[in-house]
């Protein structure tokens, strides 16, 4: 059991080696190896779940091995109730993405090796308990992402990939400064990168001088970290890389990007920003809430204006991540639980939407709801692709928060948690839900109803492979919509602990 986390973390790396060692031309072998590796990883995360003690708020399965003694850096892993849902989500989505990438034919080996590398680094981020290790994984993740977007993406992929890379690198480099500053502020003898040891933040009186201006250590580096994570989420002024990256990325990468990578930003708030800078976090919670509500409304407005269905879904992610930010800003038990649940639920529902768009794209080779010349891109899909439409409806309604499907519960929890602290903001944010329903339903109407367009007649319905990989997500969306207790149980203790920590300030 002790090495379970390391197994999950390094199994994809073993997969990379296996993939690279397969002889040239054996593309199918590469696909099956990747599928096997990701499936085993998924099973291992389920083993992790089964052995997880939900009554404990402490880190479990922890492992701590010295890495660089001179700098007190450890290879330190562990999971708690906040990271476990993310780890399960990650392994599930990666297995599904491998299946959805079966149709990739351009340098198959490289593609799957990079995808596995991405999986490993994402696990690293969610498991690290050492800030240095966290940072290393956080950055390594950029490499496969860059190549996946730049090589296998759409027409404008190079611009999108470089923009994504530079944006995220800028954010993380600020985080790096903060990380090193944290190391030195605690004093030589107790210096460490240990995330757990840094919790509680005892450096309120430190001052930092930059270009002649004095700042409170606490507040300054809270914002440094904030920008680093906010770019990933993405929070409103830092979101401009997202539509490009999403639209240009191949389907599987969009799924990972929206399903998992965006959550790394909010996970960073939960794991680093809030516990290490609790005072500043509470102090600036209004600002976070305002940014969150801007995200909700602005993302929804942008989504409404899109004529490219993938861009529409991308902006809907901006909007939905805004709800997570609101839940975080609430700093109450319901709000935080709602936020973590929303991270999981948005992961499944948005993954469904992107996969569905990808499936459609494989048939139509375009994604226009309305083409630039004003004609309809799709029409009457409902009669042409009945099975596809049913899955689409499930995904869409989960996404817009229909009661009985997963999105509803997390959003309801978030609103419950935030209402007392920020009433006005809650009222505005509820309009975001309305807008969400509006753009999704409007899109659905334009694409699935109306007259059948000539070229849509040739589209074939979803095949067995596609149904097979959509099925787990459909089940997740429905089951957790009716009965979210399993996930809420996992996170309850850890989230409670965090809220208690924050309530002291």
């Amino acid at each position: 059991m002790e090495n379970l986390l390391s197994c999950i973390l390094w199994l994809p790396v073993v997969g990379i080696v296996a993939v690279l060692c397969t002889p040239k031309g054996k593309d199918n072998a590469v696909r099956w190896i990747s599928l096997a590796v990701t499936t085993i990883t998924f099973v291992l995360t389920l083993v992790l779940y089964c052995n997880f003690d939900t009554s404990m708020s402490e880190m479990q399965f922890a492992i701590k091995v010295p890495w660089i003694k001179a700098f007190h850096i450890f290879y330190s892993l562990g999971v708690d109730g906040i990271s476990l849902p993310m780890i399960i989500l990650t392994s599930l989505l990666f297995a599904i993405c491998i299946m959805s990438s079966w149709t990739i034919t351009k340098s198959v080996k490289g593609y799957f090796a990079l995808l596995l590398m991405l999986e490993s680094s994402v696990f690293g981020v969610f498991m690290s308990l050492d800030f240095f290790l966290f940072y290393v994984y956080w950055e390594i993740m950029l490499l496969p992402m860059f190549f996946l977007i730049a090589v296998w993406g759409g027409e404008n992929r190079e611009y999108a990939a470089i923009k994504f890379f530079l944006y995220t690198f800028f954010g993380s480099i600020l985080m790096l400064v903060g990380m090193v500053a944290l190391y030195y502020v605690t004093g030589q003898s107790s210096s460490s990168f240990d995330i757990l040891a840094l919790q509680g933040g005892n450096f309120t009186n430190e001052m930092v001088s930059i270009f002649g201006y004095d700042f409170h250590f606490n507040k300054l580096f809270f914002w440094f970290m904030f920008i680093g994570f906010a770019i990933k989420v993405p929070v409103f002024p830092f979101h401009t890389w997202l539509p490009h990256a999403h639209v240009q990325a191949p389907t599987a990468v969009s799924v990972i990007l929206a399903g998992v990578l965006l959550k790394m930003g909010t996970y960073g708030f939960l794991r680093i920003s809030f516990p290490i800078f609790p005072e500043a976090s509470v102090h600036y919670s209004t600002a976070i809430a305002v940014l969150g509500v801007v995200n909700v409304i602005y993302g929804a407005m942008c989504a409404m204006a899109q004529t490219d269905v993938k861009k529409l879904i991308a902006y809907s992610s901006v909007s939905h991540m805004g709800f997570v930010m609101l839940g975080l800003a609430a700093m109450t038990v319901q709000g935080m639980n709602g936020a973590v649940l929303q991270m999981f639920n948005h992961g499944t529902s948005t993954a469904m939407m992107f996969l569905l768009v990808g499936i459609l794209y494989e048939r139509s080779h375009h994604r226009w709801i309305i083409r630039p010349d004003g004609t309809k891109g799709f029409g009457g899909l409902f009669t042409q692709l009945p099975n596809y439409s049913i899955i689409f409806i499930i995904g869409m309604f989960a996404s817009l928060g229909l009661p009985g499907l997963s999105g509803f519960i997390s959003e309801a929890l978030i609103f419950l948690g935030i209402y007392e602290r920020f009433t006005t903001i809650t009222v505005i944010a509820v309009f975001g839900l309305l807008l969400g329903a509006a753009y999704l339903l409007w899109m659905f109407k334009r694409m699935f109803f109306g007259e059948v367009i000539e070229e849509c007649k040739s589209y074939t319905d979803v095949n067995a492979r596609e149904i097979f990989y959509m099925l787990p997500l459909c089940i997740a969306v429905v089951v957790f919509g009716v009965y979210p207790t399993p996930i809420l149980d996992i996170m309850r203790a850890s989230v409670g602990e965090l809220v208690t920590l924050l309530s002291r300030f």
Partner: protein
């Protein structure tokens, strides 16, 4: 006399180099025209340097020892610095044996002269008085002028040589002028006496010392190509043959860095007006060096020139480690130097192969390299990502160390500037990676003629770039143990 002789035992590495140099000259006379003998010449040269390296490696932990009436000091810092430089020269030797950028009949001369520059560098890294510094810089420079103009039938190479001479001559003069001022104020050129004398200076004399030191610094600044003394370097780097450029961006730069560390610690190691003023000036220079290097690198079409500008920026990064004036900073610079060596060699090796293949190092020539020769493209990407400072490559750890040195002494502003520069540099490195790995090549014919040994060398250079980014404790300890000795 006896004392001099016994001092010689600390001077073995340099003596080995000198001996190798002489042997090579003789061998050239005997084997010169036969291409068969050439291999022999390389092997001799490499064995000579390998012996020097081994001797240095054995003496790392030894007690600091001033030799030749205090003209030189052999401490672990200088030893480690010398090791890095010897290793760099070895790498350049191999590159020279493969490159067609150096005339076949001049290759032995190239070896002889690089060893000469190396000896100058070694002299600099253990210089213990102002005159030795000057001597070292001149040894380094005069041979460098010849090296820059090595492609004598090529106009641009001659231009590079001439530019180098002009700049070098003037800065050496200014430097000597500065030294004479310092001597005038302090009455000594010995580093061992200077700190004590500076403490005793009254405020007026202190004020005089700073401009004198700035004049002295001109010579060093020109060697490490820091702004505003960097003007020569892009043209020289671009005009020189590739092995020479590679050599220039490693050995003279690190030698200059070594001497800068030593004089900075000698002159400014105690608190006071002098230190504040100098650290302030260095901060500005370091920031400017990084900005100028990185921003100008963005628009370069020639990869060699881009690497030249980026090496200016890297010098700026290393300067950040100096101005904190403590052991963390020096350790960071040594670490930086060691990792920078491998990345730079790797990047220049690949560039050299491209130049040999296509006759130009234009950005476009790298297009679609991944489909033509995956190994080369991947190695180059590793080198570039490492230069940009991305984990898990060693360049990240190097930058991390500099950053921690800055933040430890609360230089947050410079730390911010440094990391911002990382972002800028990532842009142009990333663009080259994009050209190599993303853009489609016009033709997918593979690059031929890259033998097994060359591929092995490329991989051999790539491995430390990655390994030192993951298992960097050992190198860290070596760098940490390399204490600089100042009386």
């Amino acid at each position: 006399m006896l004392k001099l002789l016994s001092n010689m035992s600390f001077y073995v590495p340099e003596l080995v180099c000198i001996l190798t140099m002489c042997t090579l000259l003789f061998m050239e006379a005997f084997y010169g025209d036969k291409s068969k003998g050439r291999t022999f010449v390389y092997i001799t040269a490499m064995i000579g340097l390998a012996i020097a390296f081994a001797v240095l490696a054995c003496s790392v932990g030894n007690k600091p020892q001033p030799i030749f009436y205090n003209a030189l000091i052999i401490d672990s810092f200088s030893t480690v610095m010398k090791m890095i430089m010897v290793l760099g020269t070895l790498g350049v030797f191999y590159l020279c044996s493969q490159s067609t950028d150096i005339y076949e009949d001049l290759k032995t001369e190239f070896l002889v002269m690089t060893i000469g520059v190396l000896i100058g560098g070694m002299l600099l890294s253990s210089a213990n008085n102002l005159l030795t510094v000057y001597l070292g810089i001149e040894t380094l420079s005069i041979l460098s002028y010849v090296l820059a103009a090595f492609k004598k039938r090529d106009g641009r190479s001659s231009e590079a040589g001439l530019k180098y001479v002009l700049y070098g001559g003037i800065t050496a003069g200014v430097m000597l002028y500065g030294i004479s001022h310092i001597y005038g104020i302090l009455g000594t050129i010995q580093f061992s006496e200077i700190p004590g004398l500076i403490k005793a200076l009254d405020s007026q004399q202190t004020l005089l010392l700073l401009p004198a030191f700035v004049l002295f610094f001109v010579g060093i600044g020109y060697k490490i190509a820091c702004v505003p003394f960097h003007m020569w370097s892009p043209d020289v780097y671009e005009g020189s043959p590739v092995p020479v450029t590679t050599f220039f961006s490693i050995v003279p730069k690190l030698a200059g860095m070594a001497v800068l560390i030593r004089v900075t610690l000698v002159f400014f190691n105690h608190d006071g007006v002098l230190q504040t003023a100098w650290v302030g000036l260095m901060q500005v220079l370091a920031a400017l060096t990084m900005f100028v290097g990185n921003i100008t690198a963005i628009n370069q079409k020639s990869v060699k020139r881009m690497l030249a500008f980026s090496s200016i920026a890297h010098a700026g990064f290393m300067m950040c480690g100096i101005l904190v004036l403590n052991a963390t900073g020096i350790r960071a610079i040594l670490f930086y130097g060691a990792t920078y060596l491998f990345m730079t060699l790797l990047a220049f090796y690949v560039t050299s192969f491209i130049i040999d293949k296509y006759g130009t190092d234009d950005h476009e020539r790298f297009t679609g390299l991944i489909s033509k020769h995956p190994l080369v493209a991947i190695s180059m990407s590793v080198a570039l990502f490492s230069l940009a400072g991305l984990p898990p490559f060693s360049g990240f750890i190097a930058k991390f160390n500099i950053l921690s040195a800055l933040i430890e002494s609360e230089k947050y502003s410079l730390a911010l500037i440094a990391v911002l520069n990382s972002v800028i540099s990532l842009y142009y490195y990333l663009r080259l990676v994009k050209t190599m790995c993303v853009n489609e090549a016009d033709s997918s014919e593979p690059i031929e003629g890259l033998g097994f040994v060359n591929q092995a060398v490329i991989v051999g250079l790539g491995i430390p770039v990655i390994l030192l980014g993951v298992f960097w404790e050992k190198l860290m300890l070596v760098a940490d143990g390399a204490k600089i000795f100042i009386q």
